[in-house]
Symmetry: C2
């Protein structure tokens, strides 16, 4: 450090904007002082001194810093007319930590520093209040002992309790001055016992010990852990400052008081003064809850003049900071001091309301209003949730797979869920895991709970798509399908038992937890309209059905960025057609099955296009491996075994009766009564043609399942690979899109369809599908007699597609990054396996900062995207580029998308509002973006 | 085309190097003419004329071209003193196609063009040989009719047969001039019948029809298919030239002859004159096999002067072309003409021998010698193979998974294979697919045949590693393990039946096919030593055991680039230890199992290091998902069902006896004799403690298998992810490497070990493992009292590792591209699934040119590699970089590796010689490499 460097800044001199140097608290104290608010005099020791000291703690504080601290203490003496250590008119100070980010675990506040037997006399002389003075001394010894000297709290508390017992009183305030005087002596003994030294009496020694203790607390375990957990980097906060401030006392009589306040109501955002105060008390009394504070409104009657000053302070603070303030104040003998201020922490609703109102009041610009809200917090507003005030305890925890909360009775299978749903029952579908054939159960259920699978399991993805709450992978729940029971811990749950799930936290509750509904307030609508006006990134939704699309539109989606056609086949009346298509033994059989699918899919598209008109709707051709539509090998084997067992039991019983008859007609006759009835029943069920057919069908399906089963289905025969090897499937889908478009045009509906090819790795694949589109379009246009426009593009979800982006851009009018699959391929992580196995370990142990399936991995996946955008636009400068992976709804990912120049993001419907706000913020903060 | 452009070049004027313009045949005719060899006069019509013509065939040949053709025909008339169409001294020509690449399917040769009734008279007058003349005319009509007019061959053949029948003779040469004269008339009738027109008599009309027919044949289906199949691009050959050449006749008496010859023996490479000739015959007679040609050596006696000339021709051709020549010659009345020459096609052995000898003879430089051999062809020399001369027919075909051929008796399981192998039997292990527990069967078998799995299935990979022949995925073979029979087509094969497999073609033969042994000749050793001296890429081997390493060393490996430690655990005595490790319920149990593995692994490393000393040995830490070491879920379920069935059968039998006794003591007594013996036996097997334990153990294993089972194991919990979540595994392996190193140093063996981490995606993973290496090294060094050097590096097989190469290079001393996994991730293709499902379709339909698992995908995977090398070396310019995927042994991949500046390639042992030659060629052709 240079000779002229400032190690210390008076509140009158420090730069109120420089929180990194002065800490948040110190900077605000400087700022308030300099704008003329009444703050007790004081100064800040900078974070640089802290870092300097911590580099070599044994050397103590730098000499220059010590010198400047002394100089500033002298100035405080001059300003107050008091003396530090004075026996007549002693200067007392508070010592407080304060880094750029507020952080629990660092040393907090030492009050009344400077007291010792000598200055105590001075304080008594000055205040003429012995009880107050001993009380101040007692408080100082305890705080200093605990915080600066590291003595545990208990011995102090113990002695205080003893004192009250001895005095026969209940509360601290009932202790007399003598009781308190005795207590100070006992406290000093404790310090001696614990430190082996006398309590330091020299005020400067006290001050230096306190300062160093604050500095050391920066590297204390709790503070370090906190920074690690909340990812506070050195750029955000590095070292703590120390604030030295002249003491003012709220406990000097009934013209004194202390309190805390918010400039607006932090719970609702309403523009009303909100706070509490205590007359004749020190700040810690408010927090400690020994006396019940009063709402600030009461002050209007009790201390009207001060109340006026407080209202003025409120207004000046908010005008100045242009942000709701959370501040502390003390009134010492009728004089109001502001001791601290900071931005108020508020819930999402309050943030949205204050944002919009402060713009209308001229305090904020729209840009500032948009920037002050964390987009993720909007999620709170949009889903029903467990009432945060409810006293409920989770009985199990899974993964928060689809946000929102739901209550209902347990049902173990989709058929029963549907049946009960029809009767109006509220249901939670509880399964080990779900399959496409369970889809009707999803429609009927309030929420879905599974004991297996990750955030991308079937249950999770489908529930998110439908906007239904879902908790997956709740491993502690064991389901016995035969008994139709679930066991959680020791509890046995039966069908019909009531549970609640919270898809935002993954918690599962017994019984009906109270819910709070989500809201889309007028303020939110206003705020998001501002966001849309500023953002350059469009926000689309991923939606698969007309119902999804309607919901997405309500959320403000500007189009459908991803419609997964295969989802259309999951409905219970359609799945059998899909299965027929898969089981087809010949191209002709397959074509016949597809012929039956066409009208269904065309009708879906007509509805979807009509709902979204005239917005773009991007239809992705069939993507998943087809075995996803069939039962698993193990399921089929079980079914076959069961059918066979029934058959052989039936046969066995018949034989048994025959054998008995052979041996002893009498026994046989009596046995037969029972057995033959059973046998006949079984025979009827199993041994007739229907049973035969069922068994044959299962066996045929098993053969098919084995034939198409894959070692790594994620990397298997799917997407465009299916579309090329079985072109009749894509041809059917393309025909459905184009005919639906034509029907809409005929009906005067303005539509904007796009066809998108999944899993493309080479330009040739795209050319083959493009040729099918051209051929079908020619036919459809001939049939309808007018042009049927459609855009043609590709998913970019295979790494090779990024590498060949220059080629793909020659055939594609748009790219859509499928960052779910792209992330899997880039990391070589199968999401389901990773999230169930090693990814939590990786996140907890700092191998990876985030789950890359939730937060876009900028440095790996992002770098690939950047190359692909550059290379693609190199071929086709007008190439439209978007993202439709799950990360498309994540604010930090959206910032990156803005940086690399995407045209749109597409996310699940409920995340659309979040994405809209994030897109506006991304635009506003575009210039600040850094990509290494 | 410009006015002055040459459409036509005389043999005396054309550029003998410009095969693209003149075709291979035309260029060589020009070249030979110009170096003074006796070639009949002629000229070449360029490929440009061909392309011009094909652009608009209905317009006919360009006028300028026609003009130049006439000019050159006039020159031929002047040179020969004959007249085209002359009734006294007619000029006859041959018309031949010839593109830059030799290509079947294009029109070949028309001889004797220019004949018609008028010129026929002239020919008779000139040659005084009516029979010869009619014969020439007959041949011309047939060739022209077939080739230029598209008339089928059969009617001509039919008439020829009739003529011989009528004449009562057997061979053509016995036909009289009258027979032949009649035949020409009949041939002319056929032409009229088929074309509806008279046979064209105008020689110029004949010439133009022939030229256009040649041009059209370039776009004929067969030629197009051929170019497609053999990937002949326009850069390689575009259009065909036409060669017009004055006819010379080898059938003008006993001083005339025709023949073909090689300048050296193409079968052995020996430097001896090799060829055949026929006296008084035309070229087609040699090919047609009507008369048996004589070896050229006989000509020394029969026509000594000509023989002398031929020897001189041989010498001049080879000196000039610096390549073994395959040439055609004709002797017309004692004068030797050379009609065509081209580079001789030879097998690998001949190529190697001639290469080395021609260098020694001063004909070639070493560089030229190295460049003239296709590296892949060396494979022929290194493995035993089915004798190509043997008449055997394949009964089934699978994938050529590991080269070489083997014969042996079928065995269906590894235990029996081992037992029979000990008795000295030659065995082919035949299974549906193989598992690690089959490994002892591999050691015992001559070759492995599976009915399922791809080229990267367990069987394929292990067999390649061992250098054993292997055919996988032979779908036509159905195995019934219970009957111990295999069914192929209608054939039922039992254990003990003899079969042969060819791992180079995938063919399976019944019985013992005759084998030819692989050879490593002195010439090959010499050639490869030259290659090593020129190459800058080092060639390492992938080898997992000391035995593999010894073999690799024999193949010339310069080190081990990839030692897969998990392979060490596949041996039958080690697998149970590995299973114990996996089944361990606690870290302590796992550590105990690992303690037992350490000495085994250390001993392996000591042997491996000692074999390879002082060459580098790169040890890859455990990579595959651990469930690969356990049986499959379905296998375990079957085992458990079987055990349970046995138990219940035993119980059931006991109950049966009891029931019988209850009903009728007599029947029971007699039944009991049989049943009780059976029941007791079953009881003993199944119902005692051992049975109980076996069942429990299987059930415990089933639970574990279910616990660790993954949806996409390729992308699952494996490699460094296992190493980080279960650090004790890597710690054991690292300890084994370091202790083995220390032991070798102690024994005075110079070793060069490297530790390599698989599946890395982020620098932090590498740092964690690096810290383990440092910690263990400190301990080992302390224990041994000296430094234990080891290099530390990473596989680059995860796409993200490429993107983060700059970071990884900070912790890694070397990179090794694992292009098997990297290709899977780049394409999102699971290799096994792709090769069994859609990849063959993709290759056959031109979606992808090659199988990217065999030939490095330069544009996708290669581009990633290029970025990773640049970024990695940006951080660490001395970074050693290699490749250890299977493509590392493929010549075109090696060229790319040279281009991106790798330091080494590593491949399976048997591919090392191929890679050594390819590395030298890559260096020599470095400058020509183009990467788009």
């Amino acid at each position: 450090m240079s000779e002229n460097k400032h190690y210390v800044y008076a509140f009158t001199a420090g730069d109120g904007k420089n929180k990194q140097l002065l800490g948040g608290k110190g900077a605000n104290l400087c700022e308030m002082t300099q704008i003329g608010l009444r703050v007790p005099p004081g100064f800040v020791i900078t974070t640089e001194v802290c870092l300097d000291f911590l580099a070599n703690p044994s050397a103590g504080l730098p000499a220059k810093a010590l010198e400047q601290i002394r100089t500033h203490m002298l100035q405080l003496e001059q300003m107050t007319g008091k003396g530090f250590g004075s026996a007549t008119n002693p200067l007392l100070v508070s010592v407080r930590s304060g880094s750029a980010m507020s952080m629990p675990g660092m040393m907090d506040t030492i009050l009344n520093l400077g007291l010792n037997p000598t200055t105590l006399r001075g304080l008594i002389a000055e205040t003429k209040d012995e009880r107050f003075s001993y009380d101040a001394y007692r408080r100082f010894i305890q705080l200093f002992g605990q915080i600066a000297l590291g003595i545990p709290k208990e011995p102090f508390e113990e002695l205080l309790k003893d004192a009250k017992t001895n005095a026969g009183v209940v509360s601290d305030v009932e202790l007399t001055k003598t009781d308190l005087a005795m207590l100070t002596l006992r406290y000093l003994t404790i310090v001696k016992e614990h430190t082996g030294r006398d309590f330091p009496e020299d005020p400067y020694e006290q001050l230096l010990i306190a300062i160093q203790a604050v500095f050391n607390s920066w590297m204390g375990k709790r503070a370090v852990d906190y920074r690690h957990q909340f990812k506070i980097t050195k750029d955000m906060a590095n070292g703590t400052a120390v604030n030295i401030c002249v003491m003012v006392f709220g406990n000097m009589g009934n013209d004194s008081a202390t309190g805390v306040a918010f400039t607006r109501n932090p719970g609702t955002g309403e523009n009303e003064f909100f706070g509490e105060y205590l007359v004749n008390a020190q700040g810690e009394d408010v927090v400690a809850g020994i006396r019940t504070p009063k709402p600030v409104a009461e002050m209007k009657l009790e201390m009207p003049a001060i109340h006026e000053q407080l209202l003025e302070l409120r207004e000046r603070l908010e005008k100045h900071y242009r942000e709701v303030q959370d501040f502390e104040f003390t009134i010492e003998k009728g004089i109001l001091y502001c001791l601290q201020t900071r931005n108020g922490k508020m819930n999402a609703q309050s943030m949205v309301r204050t944002s919009v109102e402060m713009v209308k009041e001229g305090i904020l610009t729209r840009e500032q209003a948009l920037l002050r809200i964390r987009p993720e917090d909007l999620e709170q507003l949009l889903f029903p949730r467990i009432d945060p005030k409810a006293k409920v305890t989770a009985i199990a925890q899974g993964l928060p797979a689809s946000p929102g909360a739901a209550c209902g009775t347990i049902v173990f299978d989709a058929d029963r869920a549907e049946a009960q749903g029809r009767l109006g029952a509220k249901i939670i579908l509880l399964r080990e895991e779900t399959k496409p054939e369970d889809i009707h159960g999803f429609f009927a259920a309030q929420g879905i709970l599974t004991s297996r699978g990750g955030k991308t399991s079937h249950a999770a993805v489908v529930a998110r798509g439908m906007g239904k709450p879902c908790v997956t992978g709740a491993n502690d729940i064991h389901i016995d399908m035969q008994l139709r029971k679930a066991i959680i811990g020791g509890r046995v749950l039966s069908e019909g038992d009531l549970i609640s799930i919270d898809g935002g936290t993954g918690n599962v509750y017994l019984g009906e937890a109270p819910l709070v509904e989500g809201e889309f307030t007028d303020e939110l609508v206003t705020l998001l309209s501002w966001a849309d006006a500023i953002a350059t990134l469009k926000v689309m939704a991923n939606a698969d059905t007309p119902q999804d699309a309607k919901r997405a539109l309500n959320y403000g989606a500007m189009g459908i960025g991803l419609c997964r056609t295969e989802r259309m086949f999951n409905a219970v009346d359609r799945l059998p057609l899909m299965v027929d298509m898969i089981m087809a033994e010949s191209t002709a059989d397959r074509a016949a099955a597809l012929e039956r699918l066409i009208p269904i899919q065309r009708q879906d598209f007509i509805e979807l296009f009509t709902v979204m008109a005239p917005r773009p709707v991007t239809v992705r051709l069939l993507d998943p491996p087809i075995h996803e539509f069939l039962p698993s090998e193990i399921q089929l084997r079980n079914d076959i075994d069961n059918l066979r067992n029934l058959r052989s039991t039936a046969q066995g019983m018949e034989q048994l009766v025959d054998t008995l008859r052979l041996l002893d007609q009498g026994v046989a006759d009596s046995a037969q009564e029972v057995v033959s009835v059973l046998a006949a029943g079984l025979h009827r069920i199993c041994n007739n043609r229907a049973g035969e057919r069922a068994l044959n069908e299962k066996q045929r399906m098993l053969r098919k399942v084995r034939e198409i089963q894959e070692v790594n289905p994620m990397l298997g025969h799917r997407g465009v690979r299916l579309g090329i090897t079985y072109p009749e499937i894509y041809r059917m889908q393309i025909r459905a899109v184009l005919e639906a478009t034509a029907e809409c045009i005929k009906a005067g509906v303005k539509v904007n369809p796009e066809i998108m090819v999944p899993q493309v790795c080479t330009a040739k694949e795209l050319e083959v599908v493009s040729a099918i589109v051209d051929a079908v379009r020619t036919e459809v246009e001939a049939a309808y007699g007018f042009k049927v426009p459609v855009k043609f593009g590709t998913m970019i979800e295979v790494v090779r597609a990024c590498m060949r982006a220059n080629r793909l851009a020659a055939s594609a009018e748009f790219f859509s990054f499928g960052t779910n699959d792209l992330t899997q391929a880039t990391f070589s992580f199968s999401r389901e396996d990773a999230e169930n196995k090693f990814l939590p370990f990786y996140n907890n142990n700092g191998i990876l900062q985030d789950n890359p399936f939730e937060v876009l991995d900028i440095h790996g996946v992002g770098r690939l995207m950047k190359l692909a955008v550059e290379w693609g636009r190199g071929t086709n400068p007008d190439l439209k580029v978007g993202i439709c992976g799950e990360q498309g709804g994540h604010p930090s990912s959206i910032r990156f998308c803005q940086y690399v120049g995407l045209n749109y993001v597409s996310c699940s419907g409920p995340r659309v509002p979040i994405a809209r706000l994030a897109a506006a913020q991304a635009k506003l903060k575009e210039k600040e973006y850094h990509f290494e």
